[in-house]
Each structure stands twice: as structure tokens, then as C-alpha cells.
Symmetry: C3
Subunit: 334 residues, 3 copies
């Protein structure tokens, strides 16, 4: 339980209600009771608030919340995230090292660490204090993992990977597999050896089954506070600067660069050697072409959406005409 005064201070908001009133958690508008804090992000949510049992609300200046205790902020969604971080304690854990966990020769595992069943810590790997390695996770030879980082079950770190402090790697993430470097030769693809590594900063989050490849030379680098969703591919020699968000199923091609606090939406992409400027936002499915540079802080770039089947067939016909050099007749279908 925290007082509204504490919450208002944590989120940098203006309190419009009793400072000693307490809340227990952030809840959805529909589920909320008197101990709950909710947030309203737009007019639609504001309308639903009327029938909510919420004890207090995070809202914008000027929102009419019917006299309910309120903390007024510029961005209620952001404030809800900040409030939740204050209200929800991290789940408890104990520094147990399961008897089936293997620690190979030369590896350093402080007594404050937890190792799950069948976890493997390879030769000469170095874990910081309070590191948690989940069931079946594999820390490759020579890896370093910073204090308070968490490797969920089935995470794989290839040899030599460096993970910062307070990172969270979710199940099935694979860090440091060899980059995909092939040139098509006369007898088929010829591979380039991938002799670099991967370096993750502090407070990095890697989603389930996401892959981050080792560099051909030097390192694939993810800066402090980078947050990556599930099933994302980060190729070799990519540089992701601090505070970047990458959503599910996005692909970041070899050598691409993401500036600080840029965002790549779900199924988005940077082709090889593309660069996205700091604070620039690629919406869902948007992509940069190979070598393309896009630097437009705060602007959002989109891809086009779905098309009814009948229109799609007309597109195909339109294109065929075009491809035959007959030129377009009439505008293309939407």
C-alpha cells in the first residue's frame, strides 16, 4: 500500500484528492475496487470510468473524473507504468542452487545466485551477485552476467557473451548464435566466419524465443534499458542504442543502427545497414530498406493495411498491365 501523495511524487503528477488515501495496485477500469488506482488515456476510457469502483485515477489535466481522487499527469499510460512499478513488488526468490545444476571448471558463481534444475554454467563464466539462472538455461564458456540479472528457463548464451546488470532474458532466448553471413558463389552459398560477440548493457529485456546474433567482427551491441519483445531477430553487427523498444516479430538486419529511444513496431524491420534516428518511431509492420536512413524524432511511420480480396485481385491485374508496359489506365485500386 502506498499513499496517493507517494504515488503522485513517483509519477511527477499533481494530486487532486486526499494525500493520505492509499492504493494497493494499478487495475483495469472494469475490475477496480476502492483500493485500486486506474488510468484513463482518452475520452472513451473517461466515459467508462463513471461506472468503475476505482479508488483513484491517473488522468490528464482537465479530465472530468466526477470528483474522484485524481493524480493529473501529461501521459496517464506512462504514469500507470511508473505507479505499477512502485506498487507491485518483484516476485520473491531464494538463492538456491539445485543439485542438478552444473558449474564447470573455472566458473564463478557467488552464493547469492540461484541456479535452477539442470542449469549449466560453462567454463570460466562469471556470474555477478544475485544472478538467477532458470531450469535448463545454458551460460556458455567465458560469458559474463551482471548483478541481479535473470535468465529464465531454457535461455541459451553462446560462449563469450556479455550481459549487464538487472537484465531479464525470457525463456528460449538465444544470445550469440553465429551471424548469418553468406555470399552466393558459383557453387552455392559461402559463409563468412562470425568471430565477434554480443554485449548487452544494463536493464536490458529480451523476449521469449528472441535471437540476438554474434557479430562477424567486434560486437553486436544493445545499450542500457533496451526492451525487446518475443520472437525478434537482431542480426550480427547491429547497434541498438539506449532505451530502444523493439516489438514482437521485428527483424533488425545486419549492421543496422537504432538511435536512442527509437521504436520498432511489431513485425517491423530494418534491412541490413539501415539506420533509424533517435526517437523515431516505426509503426506496426513498417520497414526501412537496405541502407535507408530515417531520422525524424517523434514522428511515426506506418505500413499499409489489409485490402479486401476483390481489390487485391484488381491490384494484381493493374500491376500486370503496368508490367507489360501498357501503362496504367485509371488509378490503381486502393
Amino acid at each position: 500500500l502506498k499513499t496517493l501523495a507517494d504515488v503522485a511524487a513517483a509519477v511527477g503528477g499533481r494530486l487532486d484528492g486526499p494525500p493520505e488515501r492509499t492504493v494497493r495496485r494499478v487495475a483495469p477500469v472494469e475490475d477496480a475496487g476502492p483500493d485500486d488506482l486506474v488510468f484513463v488515456k482518452d475520452e472513451r476510457w473517461l466515459a467508462r470510468l463513471a461506472s468503475s469502483g476505482a479508488g483513484a485515477v491517473l488522468c490528464r489535466e482537465g479530465d472530468d473524473v466526477g470528483g474522484r481522487p485524481a493524480i493529473r499527469v501529461a501521459n496517464p499510460r506512462l504514469a500507470a507504468a511508473q505507479a505499477a512499478a512502485l506498487l507491485v513488488p518483484p516476485p520473491p526468490w531464494e538463492p538456491l542452487q539445485h543439485p542438478t545444476a552444473l558449474v564447470e571448471r573455472g566458473a564463478a558463481v557467488p552464493a547469492s545466485c540461484a541456479l535452477g534444475p539442470y542449469a549449466v554454467v560453462g567454463r570460466d563464466a562469471v556470474l555477478g551477485e544475485r544472478v538467477r539462472v532458470g531450469a535448463h538455461a545454458v551460460v556458455g564458456a567465458g560469458c559474463r552476467v551482471g548483478d541481479d540479472s535473470q535468465l529464465d528457463p531454457h535461455v541459451v548464451l553462446y560462449p563469450g557473451v556479455v550481459v549487464g546488470a538487472r537484465c531479464a532474458l525470457h525463456a528460449g532466448a538465444v544470445i550469440g548464435a553465429p551471424g548469418f553471413g553468406y555470399e552466393m558463389g558459383p557453387d552455392g552459398p559461402v559463409g563468412v566466419p562470425q568471430t565477434g560477440t554480443v554485449i548487452l548493457g544494463d536493464d536490458v529485456r529480451i523476449g521469449a524465443n528472441t535471437t540476438v546474433d554474434r557479430a562477424a567482427f567486434r560486437a553486436t551491441r544493445l545499450g542500457d534499458g533496451v526492451k525487446i519483445d518475443n520472437l525478434v531477430q537482431v542480426a550480427h553487427n547491429v547497434t541498438v542504442e539506449a532505451g530502444v523498444i523493439i516489438c514482437a516479430l521485428a527483424g533488425i538486419g545486419g549492421g543496422a543502427t537504432l538511435g536512442p529511444r527509437s521504436v520498432v513496431g511489431p513485425q517491423g524491420a530494418l534491412a541490413p545497414d539501415a539506420s533509424l534516428g533517435g526517437g523515431t518511431i516505426l509503426g506496426a509492420r513498417a520497414a526501412l530498406a537496405s541502407g535507408q536512413h530515417l531520422d525524424a524524432p517523434g514522428r511515426v511511420f506506418m505500413s499499409v493495411g489489409p485490402v479486401p480480396f476483390e481489390d487485391w485481385k484488381r491490384w494484381v491485374v493493374f500491376r500486370r498491365r503496368f508490367a507489360r508496359g501498357r501503362g496504367p489506365r485509371g488509378a490503381p485500386p486502393a
Copy 2:
């Protein structure tokens, strides 16, 4: 072996041939012998049938199959699936619990279950009858798994996840990793705690390396009979109603809803809070934008296809002109 009469009854078709003739399996037209049942879905397949050795055929009313024994149905593909389910017995297995499988304190594992090598069943987890847990699979603390469900090798259930009866989770699937909830703050992304869970109904199928995230609040829910392909992302707070099909590499954004028996094609997507109506079909690569609602039972929606490189370059030029405010000159390239 089943008689054609049995097969016709199982698929709800009209038998046009000897009822006591037997078939052993459903086979492709090219491979079929006298014990095999084949299906023809269109005229092209019908033409290939002439040279097939198939003993019997699933086809439409009116198809000319040259006097071959036939079971006539509205949808031969569906009938082939129904016939195959009748003809192919599930693979045999034994209720062995490997000595290296770990069952933690308080977990309930009936003697009818099979546990593979190095499988881990966490504290207080409850398995139903005849559950199979593959090699290295991890059932988190407090999970519940219904009767006759199958977790293939390397499946991970995070703590508290609920799986119904007769489910099949394929290798590397991760159920219940924390949802990806971040708001961009002035100092970088701020995370929202993900305190909900995941609930799968009965007869759910989850593909290899697919991820289904736990909800921020309450539960991410997949209804009875939902079938999901490989490498699909289902985000937090998604609701997938009964009988939905989701194909490979599709992404379902946070809070999205899929109505009963809707379909999402390969690489398709619902952006956050989108909803797809019951029976509506998103074809390959089609996507709904954030908050978009599409409810058109039986209709198919498509995305656009590939473009020759030369046309693509003209697109880029066309767009640049447009972006500079000079307006389009001539129609855009197809």
C-alpha cells in the same frame, strides 16, 4: 483398415461404390495404391487422378472420377482430414517416468503420466491423467495441465499457467512469459508489471517455438479447439475464441480479440486492441491496424504482393515527389 461405408459415415458423404471395400490411409494422388484413399479439390487434381492407382477417392458431387469408387462431399479437403483422423491411429506411448525427471514438492503427477528425461514439474503443479511431458520440458510452479495433454520436448510453462485437456504443445513453445508492456518515459522505457496468467482451453494446439504471453491483469485466453502454428506471437491480454486458426509467424497484439472460427493467415497480424469478427479470414500477411474492427464472416482479406525491383524504385521516386508536396504526376507504379 476401414470400409468405405465407415469412411462415408465419418465424413458425412454419399458413397458411390462398394461399401465393403476397405482403405488403409489417406495418400497423395501420385503415391496412392489400391489400399489408399485420395482426395481431389479441383479440376487440376481431377486430371491427375486418371493415372493414380488409388483405390477410392473423396470428391465433389458431379466430379467425373472414371468409375472409381468415390465418396462425394461438399469439401473434399475437409473430408480428407476427417477420414485421416479415422484411419491414422495416434502414435503409441508408454506411461514411463524417466528417473532423471524432477517432480518438485507438492506437485501431483498421476501414474498414468509420462515424464521424459530431465523434465521438470514445479512446486504444486497438477497434471491430469495421461499427460505426457517431453524431455527437458518445464512445468512451472502451480501450473495445471488437463487430461491427455502433451507437452513436447523443451516446452516451457511459466508458473501459474492453465492448460486444458487434450492439448498439444510442440517443442520450444513458451507459455506465460511476461507481457511486453512499456511506456516510453523521459529516461527510456518504463515497464508495467505483468501479474496475470494464461488460460488455454481444451484441444488447443500450439506450434513449435510459439510464444503466448501472460496478461498484465487477469488472463490471456485461448478457447477450445484453437490451433496455432509455429513461431506465432500472442501478446498479453489477448482473447482468442473457440476454433480459431492462426498461421505461422503471425502476431496478435496486446488486448486484441479473435472471434470464433476466425483465421489469421501466415505473417498476418492484429495490432493492439484490434478485433477480428467470428468467421472472418485474414489472408497471408494481412493485418488489422490498432483498434481496427473487422467483422465480415466468410470474407477473405489480403495484403499486396511482391513488386519487381524496377517498379519498386519508381514507387520510391513517386513517393518522394509526393512527400515534397509536388503532388503525383501520372499514376503511381503498380
Copy 3:
């Protein structure tokens, strides 16, 4: 260390410098020292070469490299890959079989093989000479793996899968999960049994967390020298001919065919039963529709790129007008 004469011979280039000069590795232009060989692929790289400390350079005929020792070739990138393969020895390994590795009844594991901690080799599986099975990898019952192949940690081969010689399967790859074959029936999806297998040729490379499904009948086949990146889906009954390259997050639908040395770019796709001709290149995100055949050796096909948010909104409006039958007014937004 190799002499420039040796390197020139290996890459089929013309040496323009002292044949006895030696190099140790291929390095990026910016990092290179006197023992390093670099490559320049275009004019921009050529400009950066001036300030490089590189001892020798791979370049095209006619490139002005300021008198530096040079090996002149048609394709410097390809030559760099060939040179690197010559200069970088494969990492050393020892044929150790960890005491926790399980070899089930009837399996054949030569003494020249390495088995990592908690690796599992199933019943009657047959490993060739010098096969390496990583930590927690699972080789299903009856699988065969050819000489000198490498299964990284957490790879899963379902029962009966065949892997050729000198293959590299990276962490989390899943080979042989059942194909996704469903038909929508009146009561929901009906599954088709998947009784085939997967057969990989020699020198195949499978990326981390990539999935290759078993066929409904017969086999999903990947030919010799096929190279697949991370997080790729290869569905049932696909045929991938020799020397094909498939980039990250691409999806190959059921029954599709890829001709020899064709390329599928990142997030590209072949819908079911599509076919891509030998040597044809689908660029990033390009896709073939269901049943589409594209056979254009050496040509590159692209998808369209990202659109500014404002233009995207105009697209949506344009389409709505179009959908209402009012026809386009003015050209659509770029």
C-alpha cells in the same frame, strides 16, 4: 597466416602485390592493421580505405587502392567470404561425452562424437563420426545425423528426422514438429495427421529458433548447402533445392518449392504451393501468393516500404472511397 599468393588462388583473383606477404584474418576497413586483409565493395568503401592500416585489400579490377597490395576479383564480398574460410580455422572441440548425457537403447554414438551436458540421444538413433550434440539437445528416436554435423544447445530433432553431413543447427532449432494441417469444419478445425518426416542434405545450416515441420506424407526436404537464418518457418511438404538462402523471419508455406540457389529475403514468404525458380531472388519482405510461380533467374523482387503516418491516413481515406464504389478522385497517396 597465409600468403597473398595462397589467398589469391583460393578466391580466384589476380594478385597485384608481393606474393610472399602474409595476412592473418579478414577485418573491417576501420579496424585493420598490417596483418589484416580487407575488402571494398563500392566507391564509399574505397574512400574509407585511404585511412585504413590494412596490409592488403580485396577489390575489383580498376579500383584505385593507392598502391596497396591488392587481390582483384569480380565480387569482393564473395572473395572476402572465401578468404575468411581459408584464414579462420574452425573452433577447436574435444570428443567428450558428458556423464549426464543420455544415450537410449539401440542408439549408435561413435567414440569420436561429443555429447554435452543433459543431451539426449533417443532409441535407435544413429550418429555419424565426429557429431557434436550440445547441452540439452534432443535427438529423437530413430533419427540419423551425418558425419561432422553439429547440433547446438537446445536443438530438438523429432523422431525419424534425417540430417546430412557437415550440417550446423543452431540453438533452439526444432526439426520435425508435426505440420500445421487443418481444415475448418462446422465444429471448428479438423487436423490432418502428419506422418511424414524431414530430410536435410549435407552442409545445411539452420538458424537459432528456426522450425522445419515434418511432412503430412513423405518428407519436407532441404537440399545440400541450404542456409537458413534465425526464426524461419519451413512448413510441411516444402522442397528447398540445393544452395538456397532463406533470411530471418521468412515463412515458407506448405508444399512450396524453392529452386536451386534462389534467395528469400528477411520476412519474405512463399504462401502454400507457391514456387520460386532457381536463382530468383525475393528481396526483403517480398512474398509469393498461394500457388504463384515466379521464375526469373538473377532478378530481384521487392515489397514496398514504410509510409509517413499522414500519408498512411490518406491511404485509408482513399481506400474507403474506393470501397464505397465512388472511385478514386486524384491519385492515391504514395
